[in-house]
Symmetry: C2
Subunit: 137 residues, 2 copies
Amino acid sequence: MATRPPLSTRLPLVDLSEVCPVRDVMDPIAGKWAMLLLDALAEHPYRFAELRRLVPDISQRMLSQTLRTLQRDGYIERRVFPTKPPGVEYRLTPLGHSLYQALVPALNWAEENHQTIRDARRQFDAETAEAMDPLDA
Amino acid sequence: MATRPPLSTRLPLVDLSEVCPVRDVMDPIAGKWAMLLLDALAEHPYRFAELRRLVPDISQRMLSQTLRTLQRDGYIERRVFPTKPPGVEYRLTPLGHSLYQALVPALNWAEENHQTIRDARRQFDAETAEAMDPLDA
DNA sequence: CCGTATCCGCCGAGATACTG
DNA sequence: CAGTATCTCGGCGGATACGG
């Protein structure tokens, strides 16, 4: 029958990153560590090992990788000092500071409303459990 | 310039959701669709099928699932109308509107700086490619 | 019309070991 | 000190089929 390319091999109809700027911009900083690093660098430049200490549970691999994507998007700048042994410093660019400022309201909101949300979750879970198991009426 | 208190307290492995409220709050809305749905519902309540049309490339499964997690955190309310066939309307709660307001600066920033970031990416990729393949010096 | 159940590919992220 | 290379695994999210 009429030959049609398999669905899986067809390219998207439009460039989604073009259609939805918000997702294109937010995706790289929505990972597990990006915001933490932006927050750490917001006030002060840091070296690689210092960032490891500031975020103790990040792996070397994810620290390196996250820093590079932040650098790629223009949020941080990487400076190498040819000392012995070499040192590398990371600092926010003006664009990075600008992003951080735009994030501040959301970050503050999260902290202010954290307990409210936890309560909402507990209540929701209790209600749905009750609906499935109506013993505890 | 608004410097916030540290995002990550450096207490070791206790309950991370307790230690890092920002991650606990932001994680559920950092998914692929949550922000889009919040944005759609910010102005006007919608029914399930209407949301499908508004966000054409979302699957039924992810729409249902995302709406449920938003409801669980208390951002949206679900109203069932026993019509024939049944209709379900979703609308933002006051908490949901409050969250959305806190997100607005970040959303606007993303749109305003989208092109700048795309340019930064292109330049970064070009430089790293050049570094690996120094033919075009 | 409004979902849930199941199967599955992909990728983010951890652990570990190795280079300059 | 500041990374990369490789392996691995769990979970997000897509496709499809079925239920109320």
